[in-house]
């Protein structure tokens, strides 16, 4: 499992400056930990906030990871060829949207079972991204992603700006966290959001008032999958590289985080940050040599273990859309 190692090289470099517990209890380490937490949480926030929109309308997509892989490859390859991370981001989003359209057709129009269909999407994304990578790229070449937004734009002498790591993230990180209020607003304050909530809870009631269940679910699935594409793109652009199975199951964690966050964007974000924190700590302890060898390998499983434990402890079904995973057919009972 090399998830942690590849996520953020820059974090590793900073950690490497000192070693042992003495290196851990310092202000700069705290700053670095927070910074790393935010960065590591970013793809999770994007993917799981997106998935929460789909689930609010009653559609579960277990294929998030596959869509992330395709989005990551699309963004990587486009940036590699054109040199523009913006174009890369756009292609990553577009790939996600197309996958959303496919998934919506399978589950909404064809009424297919969602669990199985999602796994199909995952396997497709896993295989396809790898195949394309080998055919089109072959050996990994680095790409340039987005610059930090505030790099050296402030004098270093001022104390409050002495730790630019805290806020000097790329635009992607800021966009990810802006998604949280944006989606909250969308779901709670717009007509579309009200339709989404109704369709996820009691589709027959929504249908009986002329709300199109089909159109609503197509929209939310496309939103959810586009954001999965963005999450993948963010991963590739932040790391500046693509490798086989670069997500290493992050998409599945993202689905779990939706349950953890009780289907609310703010809760989902909290879960993502917790997950980012555990990842950052493990990474840090490893770099500082606090843990090593077998212990380190064991610790690498901590994020997964924490997720499972948190899910068991925290998750209750309050907030779960009643019609989650239920296909809708008018007039059937």
């Amino acid at each position: 499992m090399n998830l942690l190692a590849i996520v953020d090289f820059s974090v590793v470099e900073i950690f490497a400056a000192r070693s042992g517990w003495s290196g851990f209890f310092t202000l700069s380490t705290l700053v670095v930990t927070i910074a790393a937490t935010i960065r590591l949480a970013t793809p999770f926030v994007i993917a799981s906030v997106g998935e929460s929109v789909g689930q609010r309308s009653g559609v579960l997509n277990l294929g998030v990871d596959g869509v992330m892989l395709l989005g990551a490859f699309g963004a990587y390859y486009t940036t590699l060829e054109t040199g523009s991370p913006w174009l890369g981001l756009a292609v990553g989003t577009g790939v996600g949207a197309v996958m959303g359209l496919v998934y919506a057709f399978i589950t909404v129009t064809l009424h297919a079972q969602q669990g199985i269909s999602g796994i199909g999407i995952y396997l497709f994304g896993l295989g396809m991204s790898d195949l394309l990578f080998r055919q089109l790229v072959g050996t990994p070449k680095p790409i340039g992603g987005f610059e930090g937004l505030f790099e050296f734009s402030v004098p270093e002498t001022r104390f409050d700006v002495a730790y630019p790591d805290l806020y000097n993230h790329s635009i992607l990180v800021y966009m990810a966290f802006l998604l949280v209020p944006a989606v909250t607003l969308l779901v709670n304050r717009t007509t579309f959001g009200m339709n989404v909530r109704a369709v996820g809870e009691t589709p027959e009631a929504a249908d009986s008032l002329g709300v199109s269940v089909t159109r609503t679910r197509y929209s939310t699935i496309i939103i959810a999958n586009s954001l999965a594409g963005v999450a993948g793109a963010a991963l590739a652009l932040e790391k500046g590289i693509f490798i086989q199975n670069i997500t290493n199951g992050m998409g599945f964690i993202a689905v779990a985080l939706v349950y953890f966050g009780a289907w609310r964007p703010i809760g989902v974000m909290a879960g993502s940050l917790l997950f980012g924190l555990v990842n950052a700590l493990v990474l840090q302890w490893k770099t500082l040599g606090i843990i090593s060898g077998a212990t380190a390998q064991l610790a690498e499983m901590a994020p997964a273990a924490v997720t499972i434990i948190a899910l068991v402890v925290v998750t209750n079904r309050i907030g779960q859309p009643s019609a989650l995973t239920q296909p809708f057919r008018r007039g059937a009972h």
């Binding site: 579309f192 929504a206 007039g331």
Partner: protein, 526 residues
């Protein structure tokens, strides 16, 4: 036939104030035919409604009433036939088409989103003036106006899951009124209401009709039908078996038109000598779904040969009490014993073994396995009996015979015994459960709302069966909101309110008024 097929032009006072309408009818449905697998649900049905009238659609369970109205509302596509409004032919392919034509419907099963507020439920599907944002304050204001104008009290900011059934009903009606419907269909709106709520609803319906709307009313309760209707159309097995008006008919005649034979509307109450105590409930406390004390210290005894009626507005602990007796919900304290055996918190199968038959309130959920066939559901109880199984293998011949026999005896309307149970109409599922439960010669029967949503033919049959079991020395706990039913069947009546037994009254002296007060929580001192 007592049916009177007068054409409606000759009706005395038809409200034709509007200048020369193109058609005398607001709604005309002609020759509607709808075939489901194995069931001809509607067979060339003609049905019409004039502006300003309440037109009742009457018929047994499975007669095709809901199907006809679902066709009108765009939920089903008819195989044949046409729909006209104000003389203009329509093609209604979805509920949005129906709404656009001014058709509103209060469905048999509520179409509300529990996790949304009342206002949001009303606003759903409407165009907002503040797009893309919602415009809930405007909607809320109009709801308040409408609820005042029609006496439909409801808190616009409450979540629907917080509302009692009667309030949900009002939300459904408000939804339609908000859309300024000219035709309003109400599919069994009274099935879940208390007597007082029914009276209020009927007053609202009359007012809506007076305002010039056309109303379609569906109910199995004949006294309601007689009091609210201008015209009555009876459906039987998917076709129209007659049309009449309350002035020209009687309850007995209507019953006969529905069922095709004379029906005894008030059941016989056999005088049976009561025997020993069969069901004892002592200081029972049971928690509800939200951790509240739904049953708060109830004690009662039911004797052999006695029907004990437990009256009360639903949601006052009846469901939890019944489930605790049947072993489906944990009792917090207190005891339950059946025929001398302590069955407090026993496994449901042990409770059954002690002699309990249980007719649950939520039959779709607790009473049947809806994906199973009719005969499989019939066998659920007796599957271990040697008659139907050998060395653990089912004996299909015997099962088939037994099921067909029960289907015949209890008049369960089903294409055949292999039909999936979920395709049966509500009343027929209820009959199926009764057939199963009563065929096992119980010592104690726990029947929760046994005739709710059941047509009169079936209700007559169910009541007869309960009376027969009583004569056989069975102790029956009858949980029901229907005061008429409780008064007609029970020997003693207890009223439950907020988890407590308000009072126990001898049925011979009880009056609906007295029970109504107790059901509303007014103390017995009065």
């Amino acid at each position: 036939m007592p049916a009177n097929s007068l054409q409606s032009q000759s009706q005395p006072e038809s409200q034709s104030e509007s200048p020369s309408p193109p058609s005398p009818y607001l709604l005309e449905m002609r020759g509607i035919t709808k075939q489901f697998p194995g069931v001809l649900a509607n067979d060339r049905v003609d049905f019409n409604v004039k502006a300003g009238e309440v037109h009742t659609l009457l018929g047994e369970n499975g007669a095709g009433k809901s199907t006809l109205m679902n066709v009108l509302y765009g939920l089903h596509q008819p195989d044949e036939g046409e729909v006209r409004m104000n003389g203009e032919q329509l093609s209604i392919s979805s509920p949005s088409d129906a709404i656009a034509r001014g058709i509103g419907m209060v469905h048999q099963h509520f179409m509300l989103v529990p996790t949304l507020t009342v206002t949001e439920n009303v606003a759903l599907g409407l165009k907002s003036d503040r797009r893309p944002l919602t415009d809930l304050p405007t909607v809320e204001k109009r709801i308040t106006e409408l609820s005042q104008a029609y006496g439909l009290q409801v808190d616009p900011n409450a979540y629907v899951w917080q509302l009692a059934v009667g309030e949900r009903q009002r939300v459904e009606i408000l939804k339609a009124l908000y859309r300024e419907v000219s035709l309003l269909v109400l599919d069994e709106p009274t099935a879940v209401l208390t007597p007082q709520e029914v009276e209020e609803l009927i007053a609202v319906l009359r007012q809506l009709a007076t305002d010039g709307r056309g109303l379609v009313f569906i109910s199995h309760k004949l006294h309601e039908v007689m009091s609210v209707s201008d015209r009555i159309t009876v459906l039987r097995d998917g076709h129209v078996s007659g049309e009449t008006t309350p002035a020209e008919t009687s309850r007995e005649q209507l019953a006969q038109m529905m069922v095709g034979r004379p029906v005894k509307l008030v059941p016989d109450k056999p005088e049976v000598d009561v025997g020993e105590v069969k069901l004892v409930i002592k200081d029972l406390e049971v928690e509800g779904d939200r951790g509240n004390l739904a049953v708060n210290g109830i004690s009662l005894e039911v004797l052999a040969g006695e029907i004990f009626g437990l009256a009360g507005v639903s949601g006052n602990g009846q469901r939890e009490l019944a489930q605790a007796i049947a072993g489906l919900r944990e009792a917090k304290s207190g005891t339950v014993s059946i025929d001398g055996t302590d069955v407090t918190n026993a496994h449901p199968s042990s409770v059954r073994k002690a002699g309990l038959s249980y007719v649950p309130e939520e039959r779709m959920r607790d009473g049947v396995v809806s994906g199973f066939s009719v005969s499989e559901n019939m066998m659920l109880l007796s599957r271990r009996e040697s008659e139907f199984a050998r060395f653990g293998f089912m004996r299909f011949g015997a099962i088939k015979e037994h099921s067909s026999n029960l289907v015949d005896r209890f008049a369960v309307k089903t294409p055949n015994i292999d039909t999936p149970t979920r395709n049966l109409s509500g009343g027929n599922i209820q009959k199926l459960i009764l057939a199963r439960e009563l065929s096992s010669s119980p010592k104690v029967i726990l029947a929760a709302q046994p005739t709710r949503g059941v047509d009169i033919g079936a209700a007559e049959y169910i009541n007869e069966q309960l009376a027969k079991q009583k004569a056989n020395g069975c102790a029956t706990l009858l949980v029901s909101e229907d005061l008429d039913e409780v008064l007609a069947l029970a020997d003693r009546i207890g009223v439950i309110y907020e988890g407590r037994l308000m009072d126990v009254i001898d049925a011979k002296t009880a009056t609906p008024h007295q029970l109504g007060l107790l059901m509303a929580g007014v103390a017995k001192a009065a």
